[in-house]
Amino acid sequence: MKPITVLVSVDSNSVLLGARHFLNYLRDLVKEYNLSDTVDVLETGSMGTYPEGVIISILPDGVFYVVKSEADVKKVFEEHVLKGRRVLELEVPGYKIKRSVEVEKVAQETRIVLKNVGEIDPTRIEEYIARDGYFALAKALQMKPEEVIEEIKRSGLRGRGGAGFPTGLKWEFTYKASADQKYVLCNADEGEPGTFKDRLIMEGDPHSLIEGMIIAGYAVGATKGYIYIRGEYYSSIEILRKAIDQAYEYGFLGNNILGSGFNFDLKIRLGAGAYVAGEETALIESIEGKPARPRLKPPYPPTFGLFGKPTVVNNVETFVNVPRILLNGADWFRQFGTESSPGTKVFSLVGNVVRKGIVEVPMGVTVRDLVFKFGGGVEGGKKLKIVQTGGSAGTFIGSDKLDVPLDFDSYMKNGVSLGSGVILVADETHCAVDLALTVMRFFEHESCGKCTPCREGTRMAVQILERISRGEGRKGDLDLLREIARNAGETSFCGLGQSIPVPLLSIVNNFEDEFKAHIGADKCPVGVCEFKKKTVKRKLGVKKW
């Protein structure tokens, strides 16, 4: 170890503020001053968040600085590193750094999926291996494929993409289908507003995903895999590419993996901006070089998937659970979560909440705990008004339903969806009509247009909601919205249109009073919607006295 270490915190917040650039600049400075033998400049994960600046720390002194520009970096370098003088105006005391959820492992957090995130350097396969990486693969290759599937089935793992289908069962269907070629696909097309867990998993621990996919390939008899990833996720793509190359180098991918005779190739395919591509058959169409329009089901992908061959499609989080289960056993996994939904869930906390970020907790956690315990409550001491759980296609609830436990069955039991694990908090300054309009605009924009109920239904819903938020709502508007929701839900072609009733009905029903208060009123009751000024119609004729 060199006498002086400069740590630069690079995470989702500080990257935006130029952290990587500062890191490179520091390295240049070290070279420029010929200090390569004395000073190490290292990239590290989040040290916490501090508004408006990147945190760097100088060891062994243990001093934190917040830098905003190259000039700041240079000043810290020249003063502190070269001359040993503290730069008081840039220094921040450690306790003032607001710790984000990623760093502050809240007491009850249970890390299975996020075990390595923030703990290892994602660009070095050695660090992953040092934490039992690829041990599960080695173990799996000594088992029969049926045994691997049986273990996953016994664990009760259900798909983390939103639908919650039992993973082991999906694998078994694919295993039983006979074909000359089978495929494993990872759905990393994370387009759900508010969800960014998959991105952080891929960027923090790419090898866990790769290992999970190889195991899936071995279990179902597939020799080729694809990661279909959002085109906008530049850094995830870069990190995954590097990780795949390293896995090939070490013999975890390619031919005769670990001398077992099993071959598996893995490639990355980019999405190009289409929310509907997250639907599994639409995703398959997209990889085949077509517009991402969903297929009619059945047949399902386990029998007729990519290029018409049997295909397993799982979400990033699902695959990452696999190596942990194989290594520790199904019984170990079942001790977390609930009977019908074992394991943990990675939630994204967003909106008006104090600590935004991701948190991993056992299934069955309540919405209240997520918002107040893990999220630190509502920002600015305001009152909580609306929570949307599960993403865009999730439910809007008021504070009366905060104690509902979240697992895959909570929607059926209590009408609150788990979905992809988004918890979006809106405080008292927000208007239900405005939120409904925003979410329906999203659906209108993302509808692929293939079927009428979804394409036209979303458009009509937007028009009606716009009317209400302009102050021109009519009496039967709420019933009309409900009817559109029901129609889209019952007659749409794919999951996108079918899920429209969930957000739309939940917000109209749970906040009916607020919708009604807009209709026939002079101004938005919350003061958010901009009502069109009414032109006063004068009645002609004789005034009544």
Partner: protein
């Protein structure tokens, strides 16, 4: 131009199966021609891959990340999803439209900026977020929008 496309297709073929390279190839072409896919390039690609031109345009127009028209020097994508919306995204969108004096899908007359709507960028921890070309900017406010646009304009001069 043909050489460029042929080279891109050859590289894609090396790393992929014949039938699954269209979208990846289009990404490459778009990158090569700054931020759009010229009609000629689509025609050459159609010949090289032996895929009807209509099929290529079907894909091109379906996905929001592809463009058949040249865009401005800076493409500004702004997220209008709920997580950004509840954190003041609406004001940011308004400020962008006012500062640039254009609507979504339009390019400023000097060819500097194109404004686009995007769905979630996965950076909701620092909402509202906008993206300028490959760079992300978080915790946006109307004031920061004006500063950023001025700065980008100044960088060119």
């Amino acid at each position: 131009m043909r050489d460029v496309i042929v080279e891109i297709v050859r590289k894609a073929r090396e790393s992929a199966e014949e039938r699954d390279i269209l979208i990846n190839t289009l990404h490459e072409i778009q990158k090569r021609f700054k931020n759009f896919i010229p009609p000629e390039a689509a025609e050459i690609l159609s010949e090289e891959l032996n895929v009807p031109l209509s099929k290529i345009y079907e894909v091109l127009t379906f996905y929001t990340m592809f463009s058949t028209k040249p865009k401005g020097r800076y493409v500004i994508r702004v997220c209008e999803s709920l997580p950004c919306h509840v954190e003041g995204g609406r004001e940011v969108v308004k400020a962008l439209k006012e500062t640039l004096k254009i609507d979504f899908g339009q390019t400023t007359s000097d060819g500097m900026f194109t404004l686009e709507m995007t769905s979630c960028l996965g950076l909701c921890g620092v909402a509202p977020v906008i993206m300028v070309n490959d760079e992300y900017y978080g915790n946006m406010t109307p004031e920061k929008v004006k500063e950023l646009v001025d700065k980008l304009r100044g960088d060119v001069k």
